[in-house]
């Protein structure tokens, strides 16, 4: 299959969103973990902040990342006409 300009544009958008989401993922996973001691004074719902992020916050954000990526790419798939079947 010959790659058209539109295909390349689709791929660029895919790469951009992947990099952005991966950056957010990296910050909530490693940066907050690295500064856990410094963030200890901040409490949220009775937890120290870093502990809260580990127990709930980061998990919620992970789900948001995956959900957003799926929603965004489904939309792009439809816009660029590369979606599959009658799948919702």
């Amino acid at each position: 299959m010959q790659l058209t300009e539109r295909h390349k544009e689709y791929w660029r958008k895919n790469l951009t969103i992947t990099v952005i989401l991966l950056f957010i993922w990296f910050v909530i996973t490693f940066v907050i973990g690295y500064y856990a001691r410094e963030l200890h004074e901040v409490t949220i719902l009775g937890f120290p902040f870093a502990f809260y992020m580990g127990a709930q916050g980061s998990l919620i954000l992970y789900v948001v990342i995956i959900g957003f990526y799926a929603w965004y790419m489904n939309r792009q798939d439809r816009i660029y006409g590369v979606h599959e079947g009658d799948e919702q």
Binding site: L45, G46, I66, E87
Partner: protein, 291 residues
Amino acid sequence: MSNGTAAGFSQRAFTQQLKKYYAVYTGGFIGFVIVLAIAEQLGMPNRWIGYAFLLATILLYAIIGVMSRTADIAEYYVAGRRVPALFNGMATGADWMSAASFIGMAGSLYLLGYDGLAFIMGWTGGYCLVALFLAPYLRKFGQFTIPDFLGARYGGHIPRTIGLLCAILCSFTYVVAQIYGVGIITTRFTGVAFEVGVFLGLAGILVCSFLGGMRAVTWTQVAQYIILIIAYMIPVVMLAYRNHGVPVPWAVYGYTLQNVTQKEQQLAKDPKELEVRAIFKKRADEAEPSG
């Protein structure tokens, strides 16, 4: 799901039918719990309630497993690629809430504290990497496994073998905890020795998943998810309501942890506790040379 192979079955009708099946199933499960509650009021011993619950759920998974048996390769490896996202999410959720997380995680967190959360973040954050790097491409690629994909993408057997080794290594550490859980449950259920229980449980898993592959696994996992989520939530919601008057455990368990920390510090200074610790230390010291 039993007649799922029928060709020309549209995805929408399939999803509708799935929703119907699992709604009936959830109703049946709640009914079953109510029947057990009535039986308890009528004086059924706790032991038998436990057996009835275990037997009914295992039987149910076995039935789904046998009903989903298939010889079709796409059905076997990827459940025909038409599991609706919500149901696939439920199946994955049931995987997450496995024996490893239920038994292993509680212990690890108790032992390690904040460091133990690395496991929680690891096996949830890992899904992000799967979603961003692997899942969409694996699906579009149309093959079945990650080593397949690596082999085709990078060529040759070396990337394939590396993928295979990684998969085995990850699965192995996970399966050890899982099988330990299976052994405990089978031992409790049948009263056989733990070593025998492990193999009995494994035989059951083999029969269920060997016949139906991913198809059987996905549909039993969805069924398990419904039971698991109800069984996980009821006790913590009740505890949260009792201790804080709010039936939302996620919002209040931070305060409970603070209380526990305070109590722990009090306990560490308690003279009786110090006495007990001294006794245990003495015993440990005495046991040292011989052990």
